[in-house]
């Protein structure tokens, strides 16, 4: 071969590569930034038209409303980055909330015990999902659509139309939903702690990165010796546990539960995750984005009510906003990539 004569690549190249990478990086970061800007704009705009929006009560309500969705979005993201999905979350929350209610109703169980029951119920559901998806190696959308029906059926079968009333619940459980420390209600606090820990873990730990690897290219993950089945299983158990916890929180927040708590929430959760920039095709996205997505969606809901938008329009506007969010995100991404290419041209 004649190749030996060829000089090493020009020195200018790594620098160009570096700066272009910086820009790409910024764009990715920008997903979260855009969401934040949208959120702030929304809040400010609403506040300008109705000053009660950001009253103490208003802010409190905003965060209280978002907490459960944020939690579920965090759990869902962990599954979605592995190129899977968990549609059963709504049903799991319902079952867990009812189980917690049954457990707590008329008893003096501590709030920790009730939450534990919720988490255990969630873990049980997560284990079923996880086993089916990771061992059965079947499309997760279908499996979890199946378990959505199954878990809901079990829940309804058990409840038989029974309603758990707030007055029968121990004080401690209800306090979790209404109480606060240093003026910050417990619920958002719990959601924030779970969010922080999950984000920290996904970014900084081998097993966390492996979840992204599995979602990015399952076959490559296998060849790299990543125990995919075990990781995916864990992701489902985690998502289940979070949904179970959310069920317990649901009980404490609303006091009254019937079997169909969080019925149909799976789509809202997936919306939040998608708006938050977690790719449904796996490998991309952060829990920060997902949490912001959840916060944005709930805030839109609250803002529409406060802005006295006709309730008939609320749903339509929600849908349109979801579409706008993902479209703009995508268009910006494409534009930036194109701009990068042209810029490289000028440099080259």
């Amino acid at each position: 071969m004649t190749a030996t004569a060829i000089s090493p690549p020009p020195t200018a190249e790594p620098e160009a590569a570096k700066s272009s990478r910086g820009l790409v990086d910024k764009v990715f970061r920008a997903r979260e930034l855009t969401l934040l800007v949208a959120l702030v704009a929304l809040v400010v705009g609403t506040q300008l038209s109705n000053s009660r929006f950001l009253s103490e009560q208003g802010v409190k309500d905003l965060f209280l409303n978002a907490s459960i969705l944020v939690l579920l979005a965090v759990g869902q993201s962990v599954v979605v980055v592995t190129r899977n999905i968990d549609l059963s979350v709504g049903s799991v929350v319902g079952l867990s909330a009812f189980a917690c209610g049954k457990f707590a109703s008329g008893s003096t169980h501590s709030v920790a015990a009730v939450a534990l029951v919720g988490v255990l119920v969630g873990i049980a559901c997560g284990v079923v999902n996880g086993l089916l998806v990771s061992l059965g190696r079947v499309p997760s959308l279908v499996v979890t659509l199946g378990t959505l029906y199954i878990i809901q059926g079990i829940d309804y079968y058990w409840a038989q139309g029974e309603q758990i009333n707030a007055e029968t619940l121990p004080r401690g459980v209800l306090d979790l939903g209404t109480g606060s420390v240093l003026g910050i209600p417990y619920l958002p606090l719990i959601a924030a702690v779970v969010l922080l820990l999950t984000g920290w873990y996904l970014r900084g730990y081998r097993t966390g990165r492996e979840l992204y690897a599995i979602g990015s290219n399952p076959e490559a993950a296998r060849l790299a010796g990543v125990p995919s089945a075990r990781r995916v299983f864990t992701a489902y158990v985690f998502s289940g546990a979070i949904a179970g916890l959310a069920g317990a929180l649901w009980l404490s927040r609303f006091g009254t539960v019937v079997a169909d708590a969080a019925n149909g929430w799976e789509l809202q959760v997936v919306s939040a995750v998608v708006v938050g920039g977690v790719a449904i095709t796996g490998g991309i996205g952060t829990v920060w984005g997902a949490a912001l997505g959840a916060l944005l969606l709930t805030t839109i809901g609250s803002a529409l009510v406060v802005l006295k938008v006709d309730s008939f329009w609320q749903k339509a506007i929600n849908g349109a906003l979801l579409l706008a969010a993902i479209s703009i995100d995508r268009i910006v991404q494409v534009r930036v990539t194109r701009a990068l290419r042209k810029r490289n041209a000028r440099h080259g």
Binding site: R52, G161, F254, V258, V305
Partner: protein, 337 residues
């Protein structure tokens, strides 16, 4: 045929006409036993429907008949239809239905009546020619007007009020709301202003957030009327945990068990409801009476509903259960449902 009813309204007379065409009432006929009576509630696991239905089943047992409850787990118009058809196949003697949609269930119900199955609507009516009887828990007009009257007294005939309803399509809700609006149009309410009708979809959490939204949008709101059991308890619970406690009146239709704590802690002064158990019971008795030939559904016919006493069929085959009970801290402990 039937009785002396002389109604020019085609649709109105349909029910009695259909019934009267092939039968005459024999008020002295014995109540048959071994009848197969089926409840078809709006939604099988709705707690209110459960109370009504269970009481009905107990009543069916009392009279020696066989009752059952079937139904969808979502409150959709179309979901009930499959059940009606199955009930026809099963040769039930009577169907007692709380309709999710007055018209969607019509076709199959007519088929049922054509096959000799008696149809009694309760709680939420179907179109008038699709059933023989409608057991109205309370006269819709009374429910709507009295809620406004009670609330007006509570707020001193002044200020903004809002309504928190169930779903946008619920027939009974919309009827009541219509009457509320008519009542509010009267001059004595000129200082009261209905700012919004919000819909909580009979979903606890949605109702909760709608309440919260109502108060944020209208901080000077004086009262919320929630003519739905899910809505009123969610509204009360939000008010209870917020700064608005004691400042905003909550009234409407609720069950004593759900509302007891709010009445006792002062969040809610009063609310109304009929006894859902009696509603279920009356539905069963009237269905049995129809199936036994005691009545045909024509106006003016009378029958006895066990210990509930005697009832007379009104215009359009409607039977009124009775006036709603107003609950407050003095009487709420006497009820358990």
């Amino acid at each position: 045929s039937g009785t002396s009813k002389d109604d020019n309204d085609d649709k109105g007379s349909g029910g009695s006409a259909a019934a009267g065409a092939n039968a005459t009432a024999d008020p002295n006929a014995a109540l048959k036993t071994g009848l197969k009576l089926a409840f078809l509630p709006k939604q099988i696991n709705n707690p209110y429907e459960t109370i009504t239905g269970e009481a009905g089943l107990a009543a069916a047992k009392e009279i020696g008949s066989e009752g059952k409850r079937v139904g969808p787990s979502d409150a959709n118009a179309s979901s009930q239809v499959s059940y009606i058809n199955t009930l026809i196949q099963q040769n039930q003697d009577a169907i007692m239905i709380a309709a999710n949609d007055a018209n969607a269930v019509c076709g199959p119900l007519k088929q049922a009546m054509a096959k000799g199955v008696k149809v009694v609507a309760y709680d939420s009516d179907t179109a008038k020619d699709c059933r023989q009887l409608f057991i109205n828990q309370a006269k819709s007009e009374d429910v709507g007007r009295s809620l406004v009257q009670n609330v007006a007294k509570q707020v001193g005939y002044k200020g903004k009020i809002a309504i928190l309803s169930a779903t946008q399509n619920a027939t009974n809700q919309n009827t009541w709301i219509d009457y509320m609006k008519q009542e509010l149009a009267k001059p004595e309410y000129k200082d009261m202003q209905l700012v919004k009708v919000a819909y909580g979809d009979d979903d606890d959490q949605k109702s909760f957030q709608e309440t919260q939204g109502l108060l944020q949008a209208n901080p000077d709101l004086k009262a919320i009327i929630a003519p739905t059991t899910v809505g009123i308890s969610a509204a009360a619970r939000y008010i209870d945990g917020s700064q608005y406690k004691g400042k905003v009146v909550v009234n409407g239709l609720g069950t004593p068990n759900q509302m007891r704590q709010f009445v006792k802690n002062g969040t809610v002064e009063q609310f109304s409801l009929w006894d859902p158990k009696k509603l279920g019971k009356l539905a069963v008795y009237s269905a049995a009476a129809l199936a036994s030939g005691q009545i045909t559904g024509a106006e003016g016919e009378k029958f006895t509903a066990g210990d509930l006493g005697e009832y007379t069929i009104g215009k359009d085959g409607e039977i009124i259960l009775g006036p709603p009970t107003v609950f407050n801290k003095d009487n709420v402990d006497q009820y358990d449902f």
